[in-house]
Amino acid sequence: MQYIRELIKYYWPESLEDAVKMLMHEPCAEIIAGGTELLVSGKRVSAIKSLVDITRAELSYVKKDKKSIKIGSTTTISDIQHNPVFTDFANGILSEAARHFVSVQIRNVATIGGNLAAAMPSSDLVPVLMALDAKLHVTGKEKREFALNGFFISKRKTVMAPYEIIGEVEIPLPSPAQKTGYSFIKFGRTELDIAIVNGAAAIEIEADSTIKEARLALGSVASNTIRCLEIEKELAGKKLTKEIIFEICEGVSKAIDPKSDVRASAKYRGKLAKVIAGRLIEKAYKNAGGKI
């Protein structure tokens, strides 16, 4: 491990509670799941003396009941990609995001909890989980629940304390009577490259195609993935046409704060974000059964 040269101890806690204790009491301890982010984190991780590996703490599972789907935090991206539960659920957007995730080798090891805790603004899973209105169950000194909106402070930073661990991601199931459509778009140079802009949407419509509720999340356009709450409010109560979508998406520029990097300039990202938002809204609306 080229960046973690001070490492002395490697622990295998069998429960979340044991893992939290180790994080609190061991010197310079850090949590590890798949390690695909941690092991490439450069100087930021050079002080680590103990690693607390939670992949044997019974946190790899997908359970579905009448109200929700629960995903254990060390469930790998491959497990999500291939789990039939997600093939048809929510127009398959979680399967699709998992399929676009880096490469087979990384998907086999990287975990959903790790991807969330890494708090990268380019994550393909985060906008999808935001559109699905997922919440996080976190264990520390006590158990806490977080909505994804507000969980990220900035790049690599969440509201969790250093000893807190994501145990479970819970996705609520819409009632069978609801007409909800979903969409996911990743825009990048190739299917597997890090996104230039990504996003996901969920739109619930009434019987007459009026929007009842909308969720729109965009990634890679600010220091963390964002929910476009103003746009969501604008969409509520409307029947969509191409013109209305175009007009509403002009407001995207107020919600975002794009940065320039090797993949795209801030200006390009800003223009692209409006287009992607429009496509997401249109696709989700059509998937809900709305006509444009």
Binding site: M1, Q2, I4, R5, L7, I8, K9, Y10, I32, G35, T36, L39, V40, L51, D53, T55, S78, R99, V102, S103, V104, Q105, I106, N108, V109, L192
Partner: protein
């Protein structure tokens, strides 16, 4: 500390350092088909199969592999005879400098273990984490498709 592994069907015990990646351990013990490439989990040259799944060993702590079943490229040939997949790579010119080849072979081998009848897209997806900087991907993809066809014919 000790690491117990089954490598290519043989039970092994290695002396390791807590900081070792699985790539460090395998290379130090003679499995030099596991190539040291980018060391950031991007290029796939260090790919091995662990419990039927491909993993980039350059970013995989060795301790994680305790008691698992590892296949490296050394394990693909049987009794000195190359596998059909290896033969096809040679026959179809899917090798140039050879540095990415062990990783590509293992990604393809893991795919064929799971899916003996892959579509072109499945093969492309399976090889998507293995970078070739010499020539490209068409010949490796064709070689995997040809191997799948021949292996099915042979059964």
């Amino acid at each position: 500390m000790k690491l117990n592994l089954k490598v290519n069907g043989e039970n092994k015990v290695f002396d390791i350092d807590v900081r070792d990646t699985l790539m460090d351990v395998l290379r130090a013990n003679g499995y030099t088909s596991v190539k040291h490439g980018c060391e950031t989990g991007e290029c796939g040259a260090c790919t091995v199969i662990i419990n039927r799944k491909t993993v980039n060993t350059c970013i995989y702590p060795a301790l994680k592999a305790e008691n698992s079943d590892v296949i490296t490229c050394e394990g693909l040939e049987k009794d000195g005879k190359l596998s059909i997949l290896q033969e096809k790579f040679i026959e179809m010119g899917a090798i140039q400098c050879g540095y990415c080849t062990p990783g590509m072979l293992l990604s393809a081998h893991a795919l064929l273990m799971k899916n003996p009848n892959p579509r072109l897209e499945d093969v492309k997806d399976a090889l998507s984490g293995n970078f070739c900087r010499c020539t490209g991907y068409k010949k490796p993809v064709d070689a995997v498709m040809a191997a799948a066809k021949e292996m099915k014919g042979g059964e």
